[in-house]
């Protein structure tokens, strides 16, 4: 995902008005950019508050700045600069955070990013992007110029597989339909979409047909697609590598309640904010019940309880 981002960014930087500000990160990702664009690439050092403030100033003076770091250091550390200087002032700064969910699993909780978009959802004017695979990153980068205000892109790390072939239909702000079915609606955001697709295939063999909507844009939240696709479904399932209570599930729940829709909802995400242990990404995910088999079983049990 990082590589896909860097490749698209390098193309954008050719016209001269786009800048990359990094918080001293990007080893093995930005070497090409660093070499080619000596003025447009700035290592801002380990000083994230200043990095966001400078980016805001550059945007106020007509430049487009991409600001890059690991998610906690670009979201939590300089949150007030993000709030006041970038979002309230509604300037086109592009924040790119690497390390979605447990991407940096074994680095420990300081590097985990499981509450970022829940927090960012409360900020005005900000578009929140949560792509699921490298091709979605490329597609979103191609469209990012159309976003007039600030944007945040939540990247995983490296080596993520391509998950589907509908990229040409991706439009920022609109949930992307991955599959169409009659019984169950899956909503997913980020790389966990891969697990949702696998589970949908298993359920397909059991005779259930599943619609999958990919929320590659978290904010603005595409309520229209949710409402359209939830009609006549027996079960709705949310998938995210983020805290449930402030995540995709909570957005879905709010939408359903405000539209007086009563529907059985199963939620897959992170149930507690902080972990005492670390391990591989798969280990961390399974600790929170987010491995394929576990989720598949839970869905089957719920379907039986619901007497489908």
């Amino acid at each position: 995902m990082r590589r896909a981002f860097a490749e698209e960014l390098e193309k954008m930087m050719e016209e001269g008005n786009t800048f990359l500000l990094t918080g001293d990160l990007g080893f093995s990702v930005f070497e090409g950019i660093k070499k080619r664009f000596r003025k447009q690439y700035i290592n801002m050092g380990v000083a994230e508050q200043n990095m966001l403030g400078v980016a805001a100033g550059m945007a106020l003076a007509g430049k487009q700045a991409f600001v890059y770091s690991i998610i906690p250091f670009i979201v939590f550390r300089p949150f007030e600069q993000l709030r006041n200087d970038i979002c309230f002032q509604n300037v086109p700064v592009r924040l790119v955070g690497v390390g979605a969910g447990f991407s940096y699993s074994d680095a420990g909780f300081t590097h985990h990013a499981i509450e970022d978009y829940g927090l960012l959802n409360s900020l005005p004017n900000l578009t929140i992007l949560s792509p699921a695979d490298p091709l979605e990153v490329s597609e979103q980068m191609k469209q990012i110029d159309k976003i007039k205000g600030p944007a945040y892109m939540r990247l995983s790390r490296n080596g993520e597989p391509v998950l589907h072939s509908n990229h040409k239909e991706l439009k920022i702000g609109k949930a992307l339909e991955i599959s169409q079915g009659d019984d169950i609606l899956f909503l997913a955001t980020g790389t966990i979409l891969g697990k949702a697709i696998k589970i949908a295939n298993l359920l397909g063999k059991d005779g259930y047909s599943v619609s999958i909507l990919n929320y590659h844009t978290i904010k603005p939240f595409d309520e229209e697609s949710l409402l359209k696709n939830s009609a006549n479904k027996v079960l709705l399932v949310t998938f995210e590598e983020h805290l449930i209570k402030t995540g995709l599930y909570s957005m879905v729940a709010q939408s359903l309640i405000s539209n007086q829709i009563s529907l059985k909802v199963l939620k897959f995400g992170i149930s507690e904010p902080y972990t005492e242990v670390s391990g591989t990404r798969d280990y961390m995910l399974s600790k929170y019940g987010l491995d394929d088999q576990e989720m598949y079983k839970k869905i089957k049990i719920t379907l039986k309880e619901g007497k489908l």
Binding site: K39, M44, G45, A47, Q49, N50, L52, G53, V54, A55, A56, G57, M58, A59, L60, A61, G62, K63, A65, E80, Q81, N84, D85, F88, Q89
Partner: protein, 266 residues
């Protein structure tokens, strides 16, 4: 210039008496600096404000906003009706300035943000080969913010010779003497060792300030730090160097005496 500043002080006494809002002491220490900048130094007008080919001013110590509003109103950025709405329900003129108000480039209010934003603008102007300078007014207390020092490091390293940071060194911050918290010399040392040039000036002496501002950059290829020694509450004996005027507003009883000292009563 002294007359303009005095006139504004008189209007601010009335404004704070009417609205019971805070920070008149910090406005009175900063007003002469801002009058000097807007009337003698900077090229910012209602006509060129929508272009990038001009100077920029950022009030990083956002709590002195009413003094800035009084200047912008007098310079024709907005009318009397808007000025008179300060402190009223529904007014866009809050106690801290917001981008979108005619003449305001940057929203401020939380200390420690202005120097970074100013550096970003200054760097962009240089890249676009624009001649404008960026002036940012900081409070002395604000130099305690880590982000201010992060920005000082960045500006120094990028040789932003079009960037001017002015510190309103009135010696009193929110709840104590600034020197009890951090000595101004330590601020100067940090800026200078980050690559800035520095001068100190009497922040109530227009001639001195004019001389310094017209010799910017103080040193070629360096950002300029001007420490302006000022008096909190300058111009009204009862307010001068008194911490409580960070918060208090003149009462109806005080109004008469204050106006008299400022020559506002015939």
């Amino acid at each position: 210039m002294q007359e303009i500043a005095n006139e504004i002080r008189i209007d601010l006494v009335k404004l704070h008496n009417r609205t019971h809002t805070s920070h008149i002491g910090s406005e009175f220490s900063a007003i002469d600096i801002m009058v000097e900048l807007y009337y003698d130094v900077m090229d910012i007008t209602p006509e060129n404000f929508s272009s990038n080919d001009r100077d920029y001013f950022i009030l990083s110590k956002g709590h002195s906003a009413p003094a800035l509003y009084e200047i912008l109103y007098r310079r024709g950025f907005f009318g009397k009706v808007m000025m008179d709405q300060y402190g009223e329900n529904g007014s866009v003129l809050a106690e801290h300035p917001k981008r979108g108000i005619p003449g305001i480039d940057v929203s401020t209010g939380s200390l420690g943000h202005g120097l970074s934003i100013a550096s970003g603008i200054a760097h962009s102007l240089k890249l676009s080969k624009m001649k404008g300078k960026v002036y940012v007014l900081l409070s002395d207390g604000e130099c305690q913010e880590g982000s201010t020092l992060e920005a000082a490091n960045f500006a120094g390293r990028m040789n932003l010779d079009n960037l001017v940071a002015i510190v309103d060194n009135n010696g009193l911050q929110g709840y104590d003497a600034t020197s009890d918290i951090q000595r101004i010399d330590s601020v100067i040392t940090k800026f200078v060792s980050s690559g800035w040039s520095h001068r100190t000036v009497n922040g109530h002496d227009f001639e001195q300030m004019g001389r310094e501002f017209h010799s910017i950059p103080f040193t070629a290829n360096k950002s300029s730090l001007l420490v302006a020694d000022t008096v909190k509450g300058k111009g009204v004996r009862e307010m001068e160097n008194r911490l409580e005027w960070h918060y208090k507003s003149p009462s109806d009883i005080e109004l008469h005496g204050f106006m008299e000292q400022l020559g506002g009563l015939v």
